[in-house]
């Protein structure tokens, strides 16, 4: 009962804060230690230590898309929430499925007889002054 009151109170306070455009904290619990210490997902910058990732950002909303972006970067997610909202178990499942799909595709690509990703970049261009100029010298800052 007490927990309910506290949750209701927190939600009320958080709702007021949202109305004022304040920053909310986000938290994700991972199924295993994070694959990287920092990443950007769901439009916010996350910092991860062991199995916990935290972030802060406006809005306080959570989404499967944001969750899957984080999962793709750091690994499967067991819990994903902000101060005022949390992903349901069904949404978490969807989040991890989407992320795993991307990871699975990468794993297949890595295993098979290499079909590397390809891209053609814009042209790099440099035109110096006429040849025969002074020899190149470099001075490094002390």
């Amino acid at each position: 009962m007490h927990r309910l009151v506290v949750v209701a109170l927190l939600a009320s306070v958080a709702g007021l804060a949202q109305a004022q455009g304040k920053t909310f904290s986000y938290e994700a619990e991972l199924a295993q230690a994070a694959r990287r210490a920092a990443t950007t997902a769901g439009g916010v910058a996350w910092t991860c230590t062991d199995t916990r990732c935290t972030a802060s950002g406006r809005g306080g909303n959570v989404s499967v898309k944001g969750c899957s972006e984080l999962a793709r970067a750091v690994g499967p997610i067991a819990r994903y929430r902000s101060e005022i909202k949390a992903l349901s178990a069904a949404d978490l499942g969807e989040c991890n499925r989407i992320a795993q799909g991307a990871g699975g595709a990468a794993a297949k690509a890595a295993k098979g007889p290499a079909k590397p990703q390809r891209a053609t970049t814009p042209e790099i261009a440099f035109t110096g002054v006429a040849p025969g100029g002074a020899a190149a010298t470099v001075e490094r800052k002390p």
Binding site: Q117, R118, P122, E123, I124, F126, G133
Partner: protein
């Protein structure tokens, strides 16, 4: 992270296998005779913002090319191995370097430094032609 990326970009690497191939059109001309070799180094990222934020860095690779009479025009294929994280790569950043001799030392200098008057740590005699089309680095998405 940024320092690590810069180091990775600056050091030419030998890549035995690759997870990405970047086709980079290169056109350089009138480069000082001190430089006989140029190189293109590419870094790839799982995060679309990687080229500016370094988030999601996956790996890098280099390919050098010989300058003939201070010029080169062609397409360089740069292999990149994902040795810092799992793919897929979403974005890339490729940078032009010149490798040159200076008092018996072999030095590598990012071409982009040459046009930056504020870069006091380096001063090179490779001056870019006034009004020439100069593109020292390119970024993009897979």
């Amino acid at each position: 992270m940024r320092v690590a990326l810069l180091i990775a970009l600056a050091l030419p690497t030998t890549v035995l296998a690759q997870d990405a191939l970047l086709e980079v059109p290169v056109r350089v001309a009138n480069v000082s005779a001190a430089a006989s070799v140029g190189s293109v180094t590419c870094a790839v990222f799982a995060d679309p913002s990687g080229p500016t934020s370094s988030v999601g860095y996956l790996g890098s690779g280099s390919r050098w090319f010989a300058l003939a009479n201070g010029a080169f025009a062609g397409r360089i294929t740069v292999p990149v191995k994902f040795d810092a994280g799992p793919g897929p790569a979403r974005a890339y950043r490729c940078v032009l370097y010149f490798i040159f001799k200076d008092e018996g030392r072999t030095l590598t200098l990012a071409a982009g430094r040459l046009a930056d008057p504020a870069a006091v740590e380096y001063r090179a005699a490779f001056k870019a032609a006034t009004g020439a089309r100069l593109v020292y680095e390119v970024t993009g998405m897979f």
